[in-house]
Symmetry: C2
Subunit: 488 residues, 2 copies
């Protein structure tokens, strides 16, 4: 299989498309910009969902579900939100089709009085709902998440990374104080960073967005930024402190303990199927997909090497207890003893699909009581005794998980450039990676740098060192370095 795969060095973008296609993760649909998430891709997304959902619940959140449609007028209620989101949207204008002389047409008599927007994000409909849920401080906090589909009519789409419809979760919380809402915003950023680093094995920089890059309607947008193999950055998750903006727009007030009425404080936070793109571009190689063990639907595949039915029967017998012991450790195992494909084909196939560990077992292994174990991350093989194999594999999976993170971290560190002049800045950008540079803090400079280089400020890292310096572009005084990059 891998010989059909474009090499990263030749064309990274085509390599990505090839992997998504050949590993059966997703494909374009008949509807412009909308993807089909195929079973192999969806299985990884489900692992992400389950992990995140548990983390949300462990931090006190509950799930709920709000309508797909938002009345058009809701977007006008929060001034900056409308500019950000009331643009490229799917608009429902009618509610009936009819058969006109054998042709299906939209029934002009079934025009909606007010158009409905397919949600691009749900702050408006949710805060309109919260008005009925909150009277006093006793009703707070509200810690709600929803798993949902959203639609943003993107013109240039890319499977997983940018699609018109995508799947995501959006947390929407309501609090009695700014302090509490900010703590929540930061807590969820930490949850995202923990997930990215410990499950996706993808190092991320936690930071704040500049005002230019803020979520429309937020007072502060926090983000986690990842650095992919092609030297481009990707915003992998955001957490917003919304202040009282949506509470004011939708008139959500609460009575404090002392009886005083005040508007409710808010956060919102989300990650999406975009993480699938980030995962692929973080670890995969010229042989196909590489999935960190903690997110791999199948962690271990066992392939028999045999001659004839009798040979296979012997191996089947030997594999049964091995599989059972691995599964007893909570490891997901697939035994592929299909006779219709040769072992070499299977090896290439599971490499393409990114299964972290492959165990090959032949008739001679039955004598020596060993198996051949291949790890996907390093494409290396070793012989292991069957006795105690489950412990060895368990440890190997942990090693692979850690190794993937370590490699990605080393790559990021190697491609993070600290620069002092705009020439250095531009040279560094060409190499790819993050560029750490002094910036004068003005939106004008940020905009000019973007126009000249396409680089954007990915974030102002949290706990950034404060130091005096001069802006690489304007030469004006600066108090800290920020991270620039070309981004997806």
């Amino acid at each position: 299989m891998s010989k059909d795969l474009t090499k990263r060095a030749d064309d990274f973008s085509k390599w990505y498309n090839d992997i998504v296609a050949k590993a059966g993760l997703a494909e374009h649909s008949a509807v412009r910009g909308c993807m089909v998430i195929k079973p192999s891709g969806y299985a990884i997304w489900e692992k992400m969902q389950q992990t995140l959902d548990k983390m949300f619940k462990d931090t006190g959140h509950v799930n709920a579900y709000f309508p797909l449609f938002i009345p058009k007028s809701f977007f006008s209620k929060e001034a900056s939100h409308v500019d950000g989101f009331a643009k490229e949207c799917a608009v429902v204008t009618h509610y009936r089709l009819k058969n006109a002389d054998g042709e299906i047409v939209v029934d002009p008599e079934a025009k909606l009085e007010e158009e409905l927007i397919v949600r691009p994000t749900s702050e408006t409909i949710i805060w309109n709902t919260y008005r009925g849920w909150v009277q006093s401080y006793r009703d707070l906090p509200i810690l709600v998440n929803q798993w949902a589909n959203v639609v943003r009519w993107e013109m240039r789409t890319r499977l997983f990374l940018r699609t018109a419809e995508f799947l995501w979760q959006e947390g929407h919380t309501a609090h009695a104080s700014a302090q509490e809402a900010i703590e929540e915003t930061e807590r969820m950023l930490d949850v995202y960073a923990h997930f990215a680093e410990n499950y996706m094995a993808m190092p991320v920089v936690k930071g704040k967005k500049t005002p230019n890059e803020r979520f429309a309607g937020a007072l502060d947008t926090y983000c986690i930024e990842a650095m992919l193999q092609d030297g481009k950055a990707l915003q992998a998750g955001t957490s917003h402190f919304l202040g009282q903006n949506f509470a004011k727009a939708f008139d959500v007030k609460f009575a404090a303990k002392d009886g005083a009425l005040d508007y409710v404080w808010a956060s919102s936070w989300g990650v999406s199927t975009r993480l699938m793109g980030a995962l692929i571009m973080s670890h995969s190689d010229d042989n196909g997909l590489v999935i960190p063990p903690k997110l791999a639907p199948t962690q271990v595949v066992i392939v028999p090497i045999y001659k004839g039915d009798e040979g296979l029967a012997k191996i089947n017998e030997a594999v049964a207890p091995i599989k059972q012991k691995l599964e007893a450790k909570g490891i997901s195992v697939k035994y592929d003893n299909r006779d219709s494909q040769r072992p070499g084909w299977k090896f290439a196939e599971y490499e393409m699909q990114g299964v972290p560990v492959r165990i090959a077992i032949g008739e001679r292994d039955l004598q020596s009581l060993t198996v051949e174990v291949a790890r996907r991350d390093e494409l290396s093989k070793q012989v292991m005794p069957i006795e105690g194999l489950e412990q060895a594999i368990e440890k190997l999976l942990t090693d692979i998980q850690n190794n993937l993170f370590k490699k990605a971290l080393e790559r990021r560190e190697k491609t993070t450039h600290t620069v002092h002049t705009f020439d250095e800045f531009k040279q560094a950008l060409e190499k790819g990676g993050f560029v750490s540079a002094h910036w004068d803090g003005t939106p004008e400079t940020e905009q000019k740098i973007k126009e000249e280089t396409k680089a954007t400020i990915r974030c102002i890292p949290l706990n950034n060192k404060q130091e005096s310096g001069t802006c690489v572009y304007s030469g004006k005084a600066s108090t800290q370095r920020v991270l620039f990059a070309i981004a997806y």
Copy 2:
């Protein structure tokens, strides 16, 4: 709380609305016909989802995700499907809004060439996709399910039972033979029936729909029919044998082992958030919601009865090991030691919310080493020793689960009327419940009975006894009885 609840005998419909509101399960949204599923409701739906999802996977299915939007022309491709579904739909006609003199309006220049329909069901978009997935018999079967939202523009809506947008799962499978597709259709009906009876504690009749009531595009529609407390029936799940209809409409062919090309055979099957309505109407009472233990997000609530902080501290200490031992059994437990509400309020609240078991523990109980255990289904109480409480509660939860099923089954049997004449038929209908009657097998008679009585044929039960008789309406010859009822 319960004193505010309408009684079932007074107004069943209002009682239902009251429960949904007071147990915090769902509410109407600002968008016509669309509901907000609130955290308490969503938690039950999540339990349903998890259980069903595991059953689907245990029967070999995988999840995937297909687009929300369907091109209008797709509906015209399957002749009977279009009549059934290309009616009350949400139609997307534009993809952009713009700001016109401070007002947000739909941009007339952003009109779609072809309108998009928000999926009412996904056969068309999925079979259009399967065309690319299937070449030979080796690619079959495809056993795919998706969890998704769908929209049908209902004019008269009811929370959970009938809403414009609802959540569901839809399985779509592709097979190399009619036989295999029929087996799949029947297998999934069995899965639904098993879920309804063993998890929802809701007895169902498995049967086939008459041609009149079939899914638009199916050769055969199987269903599970439930009987609710008000004597009305509810279709709780359907499984369709689609023949080659969609394969023909979307040109999905496969090469058989012998090389011959043929169209692929299909099934589809689904259950939705409608099951929430069925659950509520099956078991709940004049004190509020009743949830079968297997679907209860909280199975046991512990309420302390105490005086002062010191009293509470003692009880807290005694409860910790009890809670731990229950949780070690896999029982979900909530300890509500909030000081802001009195025990009586909590008792009523958890009754309203349908928590299956309530444990009250007071300071005197600490002496006697006992607790008071109340079961929600019977509203009865007993004293139990703390020693071995976890075993006793585990057994009690099983008893409650079984008792709810038994009561519902007895109710259904008591309200299933076998009739011989049309007068008896009409009298039976007035009492409510299923009416088992001979029917001449014609759509005309079925239609006339519906017009005169509002009763529909809920199903022709599987494994129905074949017996000769005369149709209650037409007096013509009949070969079997079928089940009529007034239905939701």
